[in-house]
């Protein structure tokens, strides 16, 4: 006896997004060649490339009216974005295919969708879509220098070491500042502390939070 009689809700959630519903209605008499062309354009768009020219040429060379094409494109975009959102370890290929079958999408098209979501282009898609999410700047480049000032205009013999740091952040900004030795120790200590906490967190959270 199987452990659950009720199938878990679709990867799309409780309610099927309208653009996906309308896509499946509009997929009648779309041949595989056209479907694949459209899918290719949508994948390019998700990767952040500008696809307007390509889209135009595909639309012009097709017999299907533009309005129907736009429903299909919108639906494809939504299916792929939603599928990519869920970590690959949690959404299994079979479950994904089942969910699409329930939407009455033809089997060949399901295979094509599947090869995008579970294929080797997935990593690029994930990286591209997370670019748009809000986040604080990350460290792109870290350059440093250790100086010993031997003499200054105020002190003939200073002999004081100090660290000069230059950070290049992902938002394009450069930050350059001096770090007195005592502050450097504080920084180093704190970073080590965060790393320890991260390790502890990673050991714990896997056990507590159920997916």
């Amino acid at each position: 006896m199987s452990s659950s009689n009720v199938k878990d809700s679709s990867f799309l959630g409780g309610r099927i997004p309208p653009e996906i519903e309308s896509m499946s209605k509009n997929l009648k008499d779309v041949d595989q060649e056209l479907f694949r062309k459209l899918l290719k354009v949508v994948v390019s768009a998700l990767e952040g490339k500008d696809c307007r020219e390509v889209m135009k040429s595909v639309a012009e060379s097709s017999v299907i009216p533009q309005e129907r094409l736009s429903h299909i494109i919108a639906g494809m975009h939504r299916v792929l974005s939603e599928a990519i959102r869920i970590p690959a370890s949690l959404l299994k290929q079979e479950a994904f295919k089942e969910d699409l079958r329930e939407l009455r999408i033809p089997e060949d098209f399901i295979t094509d969708f599947s090869s995008v979501v579970f294929g080797n282009r997935r990593a690029t898609l994930e990286a591209a879509s997370s670019q748009n999410d809000p986040h604080l700047p990350t460290l792109e480049e870290f350059k440093w220098r250790v100086d010993v000032s031997i003499s200054t205009s105020s002190l003939a013999r200073a002999l004081q070491p100090s660290v000069l740091m230059q950070l290049k952040l992902s938002d394009g900004s450069f930050q350059r500042f001096e770090v007195p030795v005592s502050k450097f120790q504080e920084l180093r200590y704190n970073v080590a502390l965060i790393l320890k906490e991260m390790n502890d967190l990673e050991k714990r959270s896997i056990l507590k939070i159920q997916d």
């Binding site: 949690l90 990350t138 870290f142 000032s149 200054t152 105020s154 500042f177 920084l187 180093r188």
Partner: protein
């Protein structure tokens, strides 16, 4: 040791004026000047305070300016050469400063001098200095493009301050585990360099 103060005309003049000042008042003046010596670009006394000083010490504006400048200069020279208090006292007497004033100088230098030297040692040319370190560790659960993440993410807050300003500028940097490890490895290399200096 060679004298740190040459007896120029203007020094002679200043010494004469200093010698007329009451020793207790001078002692207080000296402490105030020492406190502010490490701060560049800021007048030790406001205009109002200078006027009051003129009255209190019975010096006209020119005389007061000379006294303040010369006192500051003597202290700066003392710092620059890291002179000992006894040596300072002797040299001041050699330029004809009254012995009670010379003693006051030497005592003030003995008590406040070392701290002043430390402050100046730390004043190295750099636009900004790291003043404050703080952090936050978050467990990111999701974002628009990704659900069910459970990804630890740390935010490091670095407070930097311009040398002469009280305003702190905050730099926020985000790290995931891997990025933080890489950062730490680099910090360890810097530490290695610092260790090799001692």
């Amino acid at each position: 040791m060679t004298s740190i103060i040459k007896e120029t005309q203007s020094i002679k003049e200043a010494v004469n004026f200093i010698n007329t000042v009451d020793v207790n008042k001078f002692s207080r003046l000296l402490s105030r000047i020492i406190q502010k010596l490490h701060v560049k670009g800021e007048r030790t006394f406001s205009e109002e305070e200078e006027e009051k000083l003129q009255a209190a010490l019975t010096l006209d504006k020119h005389a007061l300016d000379l006294v303040l400048e010369t006192t500051a200069f003597i202290l700066e020279q003392a710092v620059y050469h890291s002179i000992k208090p006894a040596s300072l006292q002797q040299q001041l007497e050699e330029i004809h400063l009254n012995s009670d004033k010379a003693e006051v100088f030497s005592q003030a230098w003995a008590s406040a001098g070392p701290e002043l030297v430390e402050k100046l040692k730390r004043n190295i040319f750099a636009p900004k200095k790291l003043d404050y370190v703080s952090w936050q560790l978050n467990l990111q659960m999701a974002q628009s493009s990704q659900a069910r993440m459970k990804c630890p993410s740390a935010v490091l807050q670095l407070g930097v301050r311009n040398e002469d300003s009280e305003v702190q500028e905050n730099i926020f940097v985000e790290f995931n585990h891997q990025q933080l490890l890489e950062f730490y490895d680099k910090l360890e290399i810097v530490q290695g360099q610092l260790d090799s200096l001692t």
